[in-house]
Symmetry: C2
Subunit: 382 residues, 2 copies
Amino acid sequence: MANSVHVAGVGSTSFGGHPGRTLQSLAVEAARAALGDSKIPATRIGCVFVGNFVGGIMTGQELLGPIVAADLGLKGVSAIKIEAACASSSAAVRLGHKLIEAGAEDAVLVIGVERLTGFPRDSLTTAMTAAIDQGTEGHAGLTFPGFWGMVMARHMHLYGTTREQVAAVTVKNRQFGAGNPLAQFREPVAIEKVVGSPLICDPIRRYDCCPATDGAAAVVLTREEIARQYGSPSVRIAASVLVNAPVRITDYAEITTHDGTVEAANSAYQIAGVSPGDIDVAELHDCFSIAEIVDAEDLGFFAKGEGGPGVACKNRVVINPSGGLLSKGHPTGATGCGQIYEVAMQLRGCHPNQVANARLGLTHNGGGTAAAVTVHILEAVS
Amino acid sequence: MANSVHVAGVGSTSFGGHPGRTLQSLAVEAARAALGDSKIPATRIGCVFVGNFVGGIMTGQELLGPIVAADLGLKGVSAIKIEAACASSSAAVRLGHKLIEAGAEDAVLVIGVERLTGFPRDSLTTAMTAAIDQGTEGHAGLTFPGFWGMVMARHMHLYGTTREQVAAVTVKNRQFGAGNPLAQFREPVAIEKVVGSPLICDPIRRYDCCPATDGAAAVVLTREEIARQYGSPSVRIAASVLVNAPVRITDYAEITTHDGTVEAANSAYQIAGVSPGDIDVAELHDCFSIAEIVDAEDLGFFAKGEGGPGVACKNRVVINPSGGLLSKGHPTGATGCGQIYEVAMQLRGCHPNQVANARLGLTHNGGGTAAAVTVHILEAVS
């Protein structure tokens, strides 16, 4: 009999620049906040999973599992780092979910962390391409602005999506970011500023890109009975899905449809017994403004090709009220846990940009060229 | 009711120099061999865990989970990288064991892989220190030869261990390596050559150190019923333990006793219902020759301080008949799976250095300054 898995507590640092902070100090800050929020004693934690992408490349620090566990005063636990590029910490949540659902663990602490600011811009772009196959497309010079630039050009070509519709994603998410104290960018931006910003990789411009961000977020997972025992302010995980999908764009049937997102979303809706129209609030992977349009289509919020006119309108589902990666920021390894933090706060009714009567939330997190994709569906408990 | 977890199949590349090979090509070679050995169809695999330590730092490649899964033709699986320094792939085995024991997965493919040869020596030493806390002891300049040099000096001081006793570990393991076709060093070495080799970090000399190694090893984990269904040549996992332990040597009570090893071993013996004297064959983490002495003591094969005269003698337990890290080589992320490969072959009675009537085997793998430690106890089935 499978256990009902709950997010019993969440914690987060602010997202933005944290010069001089180590990965472990950010991770420990978020973890302590999540443990405190959950009211579950640290002694109940059996596994510590640290989601992190380029900590080795950028800071020279690996072995984050035992280092963070030691700093938290935890002994004798299974402490490991989990890496799935920008989906590292949500993939770790999926693994923790499996363990608790099957009864293998009572409580799992999942932390996501990254340090990306203060490095030379070239070294950061190069580090990010660690999520592209270096034997093929990485060797040929593909970068993530390059990948998403192709996706955007193709989406405009196939579906008549306009430059202004894509820019409207940034405008919307900056507006949300202005209301989120954890967000890196808290200034609204006008559409003219987005379309007039410097060209990065045609047709992508600077304000279409998420920033380099430092930060950490953490969640405590447990089964329903334990959350109740401690009076945790929990939300239920109605579905937790992680899939792998094509790694090379040459393996895509069509680069404006991301099979991993479609497959993960369909599985998640089926497991939760809900449909896209039931979702009140979604945090999805808007690493570039065009990504929010593609993802919203692949998640079933819009038919393919209708995301352009759709996402900036008033929809039933509120997308990225945190500000998203574009405005809250994208500390890659931390983003997955950060999204769950945001949706949990919405379902607990205490988000600074609260969606009225939010009962059902979704997170979508992608690693690489949507090669590792997670979808989580969360449900309010009380 | 917990499932009985089996290693249904194993595979390995040779260990040594593989210039020009990518991480994924090595990983795929080992994985295909393990899947073929197990006779379990790849479609039964639900998770692919790739254990890897410094692939990002040395080769710029992360996201190995989806990349390797795609190259194996697997779709829709949970494919992630797991990192716990030199214990990365054995930590991944522990996680796979948990999932199968609890019934969360039918079959899990665990692969360990690393590329370490052909890089400048300084960059390799620096990369390895990613497993030392960069905020404290890494910043102060500690390296792994430095750590083990202190351990060796202290062991000699406290217990009267001699230079020749430590050198005898290398001599023994090189002798074993000569008989193992997968080993990097296949030439025996005389004790005079070890004690006369260049000083690396007093009292550690060159022949006290494991080499830089490329390689991959893989194991297929499943429950007993599935292994039987496919006629897999399986061995049973009688115990699988992963613990975290002090990360900084300043947190050690005594650096010649590694608490993580003691704790992991005691747990494993208790779970398996056996004692150290029951073990026929052990593959343990001899990254330096002194490490085999310390580990053999901490695993309970010798009383503390008696490993020096003990390990080179004819003992009931045969230690590192693969040649160990000293002779078979140490492709860090691959070592844990490599040890399980070796012990599985012993228990199946088909090892090139076969231990007569081996029924019970143990693997011991340590990450960092024994900050992440796994112990596996494996048992012959038929």
